[in-house]
Symmetry: C2
Subunit: 320 residues, 2 copies
Amino acid sequence: MKKNQKFALGIDLGGTNIKLGIVSELGKIVSKVEVKTEAHLGPKAVIKNIEKGIDEILKNKKIKLIGIGIGAPGIVTIKKGIVKSPPNLPGWDEIPLGSIIKKKYGIKVNVENDANAAAIGEMIFGAGKKYSSFIMVTLGTGVGGGIIYNGKLYRGEIGGAGEIGHISINPNGPRCNCGSTGCIEAYAGNHYLKESVKKDLVNHPSSKIWELIENDLQKVSPRIIQMAAELGDVYAKEIIFDLGVNLGIAFSSLSNVLDISTFIIGGGVAGFGKPLLTSIKTTMISRVLTPLKSRINIIPAKLKNEAGILGASSLVFYNT
Amino acid sequence: MKKNQKFALGIDLGGTNIKLGIVSELGKIVSKVEVKTEAHLGPKAVIKNIEKGIDEILKNKKIKLIGIGIGAPGIVTIKKGIVKSPPNLPGWDEIPLGSIIKKKYGIKVNVENDANAAAIGEMIFGAGKKYSSFIMVTLGTGVGGGIIYNGKLYRGEIGGAGEIGHISINPNGPRCNCGSTGCIEAYAGNHYLKESVKKDLVNHPSSKIWELIENDLQKVSPRIIQMAAELGDVYAKEIIFDLGVNLGIAFSSLSNVLDISTFIIGGGVAGFGKPLLTSIKTTMISRVLTPLKSRINIIPAKLKNEAGILGASSLVFYNT
């Protein structure tokens, strides 16, 4: 290990688990701990669990941390690290999580929305290193986003920016959980994608997906669709292609407005890999304004499973 | 006139006319000149015409200018004031307009894209004064936009940002001049709007629009639609309402991504006034994410006919 390296503690606060990791300034995780969130017990219990995780990961360690970074769902007010109404943490109205942790451990704490943290993570440690501006897209349960512009996170008026999952590509499209219609999340979100394939699969009786799920529609998943596509299944390939088209339509609007040409694609659904990225890129080149066409650049995220911890810890290095 | 006021020369470089005005730091135009652009004669002739206009407006004036601001079509590279491939100025590949004018007149010159200049104009002189972040929308031949974030113009990677007219609200929607489909400009741009009403009017034989255009479809215009609406014509009111819905759909996506809640609406089509703004606002409130709903604020632009000159001159005060 390089001497005199700096370390940060990254905390990925999820609805089910809290993942903690001590991360070097080079993006290497040197220690990891995971605890249950127990979100249903309310904020006090969740904070206790965060502290339990911190105590556990710091036990018997000589590493001196330069700070703690926390990636949290919901809208975060940077100044006091206030987490506001995160969708999957019931009872959290406005909790000054940053101040609470800072007070207890006497160390600098940076809290940020998890999608924004993922964007900063890619900028500091990942595929975004060489771009001064890019859009980080996380294709998971939802479609999350973070906007990096001239080396800085674009946060918006109250820190709610980057909700690219809620770009509507068709007002007559499927209803989205947010209450609107045709949001790209209602096409590309893990759950929506599964549901739409489950409904549509009967129209494709010869698809290899049937075999892979052993005729049990409950087993449909992005992983299964990917496996079928890799086996040459035409329908599975179509699903991935169409997903790329829909994402490309949404991203084209975004590129036109923001004049940002690089998109970094991460999250589980991004596992579709090159066929998905190619479909996104082809769609965008056909739709964006002329000055953007030659610049469109769609690349995979570099931080994979550990994106949450790395993104959270990157907040500390970003703010140093 | 207040003593010791500062003055700038604003130049609005359009495809047909070049409008020049000497503007005080309070946004008062004290002198105005207009010359023909003669765009078909190419950049050299156009620049000669700009200089002719400058010479004319400065003749016999004792006013000391602190700078010249130019609003130009196309993408502008700030540093040398390079105007790149403006759509309605043939032959302009990459013209360092800023440097040329600066060299000739020995005075600071700021060049900016005209839609961006309009946004800065509203920020410095107009309805945007009291907002640190807003989106300026110009509803004219096209749908132009400028993004002000934390008191600064958001320019994007190469200065092309703010193309909100090319947010697609429906991939199966009307074809846009840009080559894409369903762009909001293809619904709300002056020309598209007229064409769609001209086609649809036969389905509304009792509309008052028929009277106002004396049965001559060529006379359909936003002004006529507005007059019919003011006379209580149901179809004309519907057109305005639907336009607001479509704009509201596009702006909702934008608000979700940028976390900006104030939209300032200017340009000729904005003459529809309150019914249009109300329709935009109602649509947005029903579609944006929860943290935005209570903040949505749709207001008319303050700079009207002189927006071009005022926007151009505001570049000087913005950059002081």
